[in-house]
Subunit: 295 residues, 2 copies
């Protein structure tokens, strides 16, 4: 095992433990809702956003005991969005992280409430632990996560995505959608991790540029995998973008150019890190991981 994969596994294990601790126990009423929240959030996922938060925290010297709660908050927002996305009114998907989706395993009403309650829990986490040097910074972190999640962030990206099914998009429009749908929360993961330490203005700016590249690269690679990998490998239904005539980087640019674009974004991400003073090895490796991953 390389040093990087050991680090990644340690972060993932830590994230699983923190999430298991902060989610209400399945024995607490309402039991079925809590059971479904745990089903949705535990035991799966690459935890890319938490990994980015931990790695960005290393740059600013943040205490991992702080970063872990910021990372968990971002991950809970991500998980809630998956639960709602998979519902029949949205993507209508039966498989996620290799398991039946929440509305299949439980029911639609429960899936709706699971998503709603996971979002509340994310903000609860951000407000209930000491995460930054001062409360004013921590309030700013609440604001960052709220804006990244809302109608001008992730939820807005979903709305644009829905509106674009079967519609020809220009590459710039596709980018606009993904900057919202995936990019905003990835950016929040990086910035929240950094704000658990003491980022200077320049640091935050460079991390922001890095996060923007990673967010887009993540989506480009997702599109390539959706077109080329199997459902078994992905743990979610493969080929569904094409089946629904959804615009993707592969359908717009072709697979070869999409692969080139991913490499360019990796280079841009690395270049953004070059300007930073703190230790950036983990962020650099994560950029490689995001581009080279096969699931």
């Amino acid at each position: 095992m390389t040093d990087f994969s050991a680090w990644m596994q340690a972060c993932q294990t830590r994230m699983e433990r923190v999430l298991a601790d902060c989610l209400p126990a399945a024995a607490i009423a309402p039991q079925r809702l809590h059971e479904a929240m745990r089903y949705a959030a535990l035991g799966g996922g690459k935890r890319v956003r938490p990994l980015l938060a931990f790695a960005a925290g290393e740059v600013t010297g943040a205490d991992p005991e702080r970063v872990q709660h910021a990372a968990a908050a971002v991950e809970l927002i991500h998980v809630y969005s998956l639960v709602h996305d998979d519902m029949p009114a949205m993507d209508d998907d039966a498989l996620r992280r290799g398991k039946p989706t929440v509305h299949i395993e439980f029911d639609e009403a429960t899936a709706l409430l699971v998503g709603d309650a996971l979002q509340s829990l994310a903000f609860d986490l951000l407000a209930s632990h000491v995460l930054a040097d001062d409360a004013a910074t921590q309030l700013k972190m609440v604001q960052m996560l709220a804006q990244a999640s809302g109608s001008r962030g992730m939820a807005g990206g979903q709305a644009i995505d829905l509106a674009s099914v079967g519609k020809p998009l220009e590459p710039a429009e596709l980018e606009f959608m993904h900057i919202h749908k995936t990019g905003a929360l990835i950016r929040a993961a990086v910035l929240l991790g950094a704000h658990c330490g003491a980022p200077t203005g320049t640091t935050a700016g460079s991390l922001d540029r890095y996060a923007k590249c990673i967010g887009l690269a993540f989506q480009v690679v997702d599109d390539i995998l959706d077109a080329e990998a199997s459902t078994a490998t992905l743990g979610k239904t493969a080929g569904k973008d094409a089946a629904r005539n959804k615009p993707t980087y592969v359908s717009l640019l072709g697979a070869a150019r999409a692969r080139e674009l991913a490499q360019e974004l990796r280079a841009d991400a690395h270049a953004a890190l070059d300007t930073l003073a703190g230790p950036t090895a983990r962020l650099r490796q994560l950029a490689d991981f995001v581009i080279e991953r096969s699931y």
Copy 2:
């Protein structure tokens, strides 16, 4: 017009203006989502929670310029819960505040995203304005709202409500459900309004007792109105609890005893206010309003 109804109208007008200002304009992308968010949140509702926040703020000498954003945040949580509740997977209702529900006027996917984005916006508001004397208090307000909204608050109450359809409940179980479903957010409205000023520990405790009584009274009266008023008066479908065999205070206790209970809760709410030093006239009048309302 009495002094109280003039005050109420002024608060409602102010709330409408603040919500109109803080909701993204319908011209901003994604336009349809923003249009639907405005449709859901503007132009209707009694604004009971904002009224409670403004009245509680008077007790602690809070600046209404602060209270209005705390009040708007609570109202946005309330509105999001209505939008999700009305969806086919939950209560499947076509009418709300005298208008077609969001999933009828727009579509289900949009209704899902509207609710999600309104919740994010509520936390954005709480974090983006100066609402308290210090940032630490304001973080505590974020925590209060998050916990009131989540699985051990409002969303949890919804889950218990869903699980109780067609099931015989004891009065204590019905109360447990409503303390979560309606009570938690009403309590948050009162406490958030109070924290915009400087509540002492005793003040917060008495306000909490007041809020608990009002929360239950509100639900008892809702059950009476659902059984006895018309759809036209309510602006939402009347008689639906009985139609679905949902336990209510009326079905459990009978209409006469339910009416007595509402009066007892009003007396308890007034008694809680008797212990307070600050001006409590508005909270007192709001208790009367909640019990005597006909819609």
